[in-house]
C-alpha cells in the first residue's frame, strides 16, 4: 500500500506539467512549421515538376548532364574553402590577441569586431567596390606610396570576392574562437611551462587543442554561410565568379525556371546537411550555438 503512496497523483502532475510546456511552445512550433517546413517542402515538390507540369527528374538530370553545373558547385566549394581558410588565418591570431587583453579592453575590441554587423551588408559590399576599383582609394594610395606602379585589378574577380567575403564572415569566426579562448584557464599554460614547455610549445600543445572546438565551430559556420552567400560575391565577383546562389537567381530571373532553381536549392540544402552530419562525427554541434559548455 504505502509503496504506491501518491504515485498516481504525482504521475498526473508530471503529465500535466509536460502538457503545459508543450502548450507554451506550440505557437513557436506553428511558426516554424509555416515559415520553415512548408517552404522547404514546397521547394522540394517544385523541383520534381517538369515543364509539362507532371513528375520529372529533369531538373536533377540537367545538373548531372551539363558540365557548367559541376563547375559552379566546385567553384562554390572553392570560394567557401578559401574564405574559411583566410578567416582562420586572420581571425585566429586576432582572437588570440584579444583574449589576452584585460576584460574591459577586450570587450571594446569585440565591439569593434562586431561593428560591421550594424551596417547594411549591401553598403559594406559597395564600399569595397569603391575602395578596390582601378581608381579606388587602395590603388591610388598604394601607387602614391610606391607599393606598385600600375593599378591592380582587385574587383570583379576572385580577389575582390574573397576580400569582401572574408570581411563579412570574419565576426562569425572570431566570436566562437574568442569564446573558446576566454574559457581556457591560463593555469593550463602555466602548468605546461612548469612541466618544461617553452611558450611556443605550450601554445601548440595546449592552447591550440583547447581552442580547437571553437575554431571548428566558427569555421563550419563560415563555410556553410559561404555556400549560400549571394550579395557580396555577386557584386564584387562582377559575373566572373559564379556561385550556386547566383545560378539560382539567374534561373528565376532570366529563365523563370522555378523547377531548376528549386532543385539547386534542394541540392545545396542536402550538401549542407551532409557537411553538418560529417562534422558532427568530429565535434558536438551544440558548440555551434554556444551551448553545451
Amino acid at each position: 500500500m504505502t509503496a504506491d503512496l501518491n504515485a498516481a497523483g504525482l504521475r498526473r502532475d508530471e503529465a500535466a506539467e509536460r502538457l503545459a510546456l508543450f502548450g507554451l511552445a506550440s505557437p513557436a512550433l506553428l511558426l516554424v512549421l509555416i515559415v520553415m517546413v512548408l517552404p522547404v517542402g514546397w521547394l522540394f515538390y517544385v523541383s520534381f515538376v517538369g515543364a509539362d507540369g507532371g513528375f520529372s527528374m529533369e531538373n536533377y538530370a540537367r545538373m548531372v548532364r551539363e558540365k557548367s553545373y559541376g563547375r559552379i558547385f566546385l567553384q562554390t566549394f572553392n570560394v567557401s574553402l578559401l574564405t574559411t581558410g583566410l578567416c582562420i588565418l586572420i581571425g585566429y591570431p586576432l582572437a588570440y590577441f584579444i583574449s589576452g587583453l584585460p576584460t574591459r579592453i577586450a570587450n571594446l575590441c569585440l565591439i569593434t569586431v562586431l561593428l560591421p554587423f550594424w551596417t547594411s551588408l549591401l553598403v559594406r559590399t559597395y564600399a569595397w567596390l569603391v575602395l578596390l576599383q582601378k581608381q579606388g582609394l587602395v590603388n591610388t594610395w598604394a601607387i602614391s606610396l610606391g607599393l606598385w606602379d600600375e593599378p591592380i585589378k582587385m574587383v570583379h574577380n576572385l580577389t575582390g570576392t574573397l576580400i569582401g567575403m572574408v570581411h563579412i564572415m570574419l565576426p562569425f569566426l572570431i566570436l566562437p574562437v574568442y569564446g573558446a579562448m576566454r574559457a581556457i584557464d591560463r593555469d593550463y599554460l602555466k602548468a605546461a611551462a612548469n612541466l618544461g614547455a617553452s611558450p611556443t610549445r605550450a601554445f601548440w600543445t595546449v592552447f591550440v587543442p583547447l581552442s580547437a572546438p571553437g575554431l571548428f565551430a566558427g569555421a563550419l559556420m563560415v563555410f556553410i554561410l559561404c555556400l549560400g552567400f549571394f550579395v557580396t560575391p555577386a557584386v564584387l565577383g562582377g559575373g566572373r565568379v559564379i556561385l550556386v546562389s547566383m545560378k539560382i537567381v539567374s534561373n528565376i530571373e532570366l529563365f523563370v525556371n522555378w523547377g531548376a532553381a528549386s532543385a539547386l536549392g534542394v541540392v545545396l540544402l542536402a550538401l549542407t546537411f551532409l557537411i553538418l552530419w560529417v562534422a558532427s562525427k568530429f565535434v558536438r554541434l551544440e558548440q555551434l550555438t554556444g551551448g553545451g559548455h
Partner: protein, 363 residues
C-alpha cells in the same frame, strides 16, 4: 637511496620583495630551505604564500632579490627552464589528454623514448596508487584521483624540487587526512625538496619537517612543528597556531609574576619589553592532576562545554583574564567536572609555562 641524494636540492631565498601597487605581497623575504626537506608555508589568506611559491616556480617576477637552487641562480630563469615540479591548487590537468597523456607530457617535452616513457608513466601512476588508470579521461576522475594524477605528472620527470599550492583544499576531510599521510610517505620515498602551501595549521603540523609562518609578506617564524607549537616566537604565531589564552605578566629582574604570584619557569625569559604568558587549553590541569612544583591559578568557572572526545572549560581569574582548559573525557570525568560558578584551581607545568614577546608585530 642513491636516488635520494640525486633528487634533492637546497633552495636559498634572499631579500625577495614583491609589491602590487602599495601592497607588499612579499616583504624582504629570506629563507633557507634544506636539501630534501618538507617545508610548509603557513599563513592567513593574502599573506603572500602563493606569491612566494609563484616566485619559486618563476611565474611571478619579484621586484628584487635572489633565488638559488643548489648553486644555480635562477631568479631570471624562465619557468620552463627551472625544472621544478608543481601541483596547482586546481590541478590544471589538461582536459584534452588522457591520464597517461597528462603524466607523459613532461616526458614528451624532454624527448624520452616512447617505451621508456610508457614505463615511467606507469611507475609514476603506481606511486600514487593509480596503476592502470592511464586511459581514463580527466573528467572521469574523482577529486582525489585528479589530485593524484597532478602529483604523478609533477614527479614523473624527477624534478629535484616539488612545489604544492594547497593541493588538498578541494578534497573532503577524510580524503584529505589520508592524502596528507600519503604525501608524507611519498616525500620520504622520493626525497625531493618540497615546498608546500596551506592555510590549514593541522595539515602543516602533520606533514612538515619545518614550517614557515607567513604574515603580510614576511616570515614570522621558521621552526619545526614542535617548537612552533610549544615556543612560538611572537603573539601572531601563538595566536595563529592552536588556541591559546594570553595573560599579562610582570617582570622584575629574573622573576616573572602573574597577579602578584611568581611563576616557576623552565625556559629562558625572552628578551622583550612586554611579556605575555601563553596558555594552551590542553596543557592546563584540574585540581586532582596538579602535582608539586606546578604554577597554579585560581579561577571561577564560567562555562563547561561537552565536545564528545573532550570537554572545554572556560574560567575567569581574579584579575579578570579569561582562560580555557581542555581535558579528555574518560569514564568518570563527565560527572566529576566542576560546574559553572565553582571556584577551582588550575595547574600548569613549568615546561608548559611559555612567555612570549607581547609586542604586536607591525608591518
Amino acid at each position: 637511496m642513491t636516488d635520494q641524494t640525486k633528487a634533492a636540492l637546497p633552495i636559498t631565498v634572499r631579500n625577495i620583495t614583491k609589491t602590487y601597487g602599495r601592497v607588499f605581497a612579499l616583504n624582504d623575504v629570506s629563507l633557507d630551505i634544506r636539501s630534501g626537506e618538507f617545508l610548509t608555508l603557513l599563513g592567513p589568506s593574502g599573506s603572500g604564500k602563493t606569491t612566494l611559491l609563484m616566485v619559486l616556480a618563476g611565474f611571478t617576477r619579484p621586484d628584487r632579490g635572489s633565488l638559488t637552487f643548489g648553486d644555480r641562480e635562477v631568479i631570471r630563469t624562465a619557468p620552463h627552464l627551472r625544472d621544478v615540479g608543481m601541483v596547482f591548487q586546481n590541478y590544471a590537468l589538461f582536459p584534452h589528454m588522457t591520464v597517461a597523456g597528462n603524466v607523459g607530457y613532461p616526458l614528451r617535452l624532454r624527448g624520452v623514448a616512447k617505451a621508456e616513457a610508457g614505463r615511467r608513466i606507469e611507475r609514476a601512476l603506481e606511486t600514487v596508487q593509480l596503476g592502470g588508470y592511464g586511459n581514463r579521461r580527466i573528467d572521469q576522475l574523482s577529486g582525489g584521483q585528479k589530485q593524484r594524477v597532478a602529483l604523478a605528472r609533477s614527479i614523473v620527470f624527477e624534478p629535484r624540487i616539488l612545489l604544492m599550492d594547497e593541493p588538498l583544499s578541494a578534497l573532503d576531510k577524510k580524503l584529505r587526512d589520508r592524502m596528507q599521510i600519503e604525501l608524507r610517505h611519498l616525500h620520504e620515498k622520493l626525497g625531493m625538496t618540497t615546498v608546500y602551501v596551506t592555510h590549514d595549521q593541522r595539515e602543516a603540523l602533520t606533514m612538515s619537517d619545518r614550517i614557515a609562518v607567513v604574515n603580510h609578506g614576511r616570515i614570522m617564524q621558521l621552526a619545526n612543528p614542535r617548537d612552533l607549537y610549544n615556543q612560538p616566537a611572537n603573539r601572531f604565531v601563538a595566536d595563529f597556531i592552536g588556541d591559546s589564552a594570553f595573560l599579562p605578566v610582570q617582570r622584575e629582574g629574573s622573576t616573572v609574576s602573574f597577579a602578584g604570584q611568581p611563576l616557576t619557569l623552565a625556559h629562558p625569559i625572552p628578551d622583550a619589553a612586554s611579556l605575555l604568558l601563553m596558555i594552551r587549553p590542553e596543557r592546563l590541569r584540574l585540581a586532582r592532576d596538579i602535582t608539586e612544583g606546578m604554577n597554579t591559578f585560581q579561577a571561577t568557572v564560567t562555562e563547561v562545554v561537552y565536545q564528545g572526545d573532550s570537554f572545554l572549560l572556560y574560567a575567569r581569574t581574579g584579575d579578570g583574564s579569561e582562560l580555557a582548559m581542555r581535558g579528555a573525557i574518560r569514564g568518570g570525568t563527565v560527572s566529576g567536572l566542576p560546574a559553572t560558578g565553582d571556584r577551582i584551581t588550575l595547574g600548569l607545568d613549568p615546561a608548559d609555562t611559555v612567555l612570549i614577546d607581547g609586542e604586536e608585530v607591525r608591518r
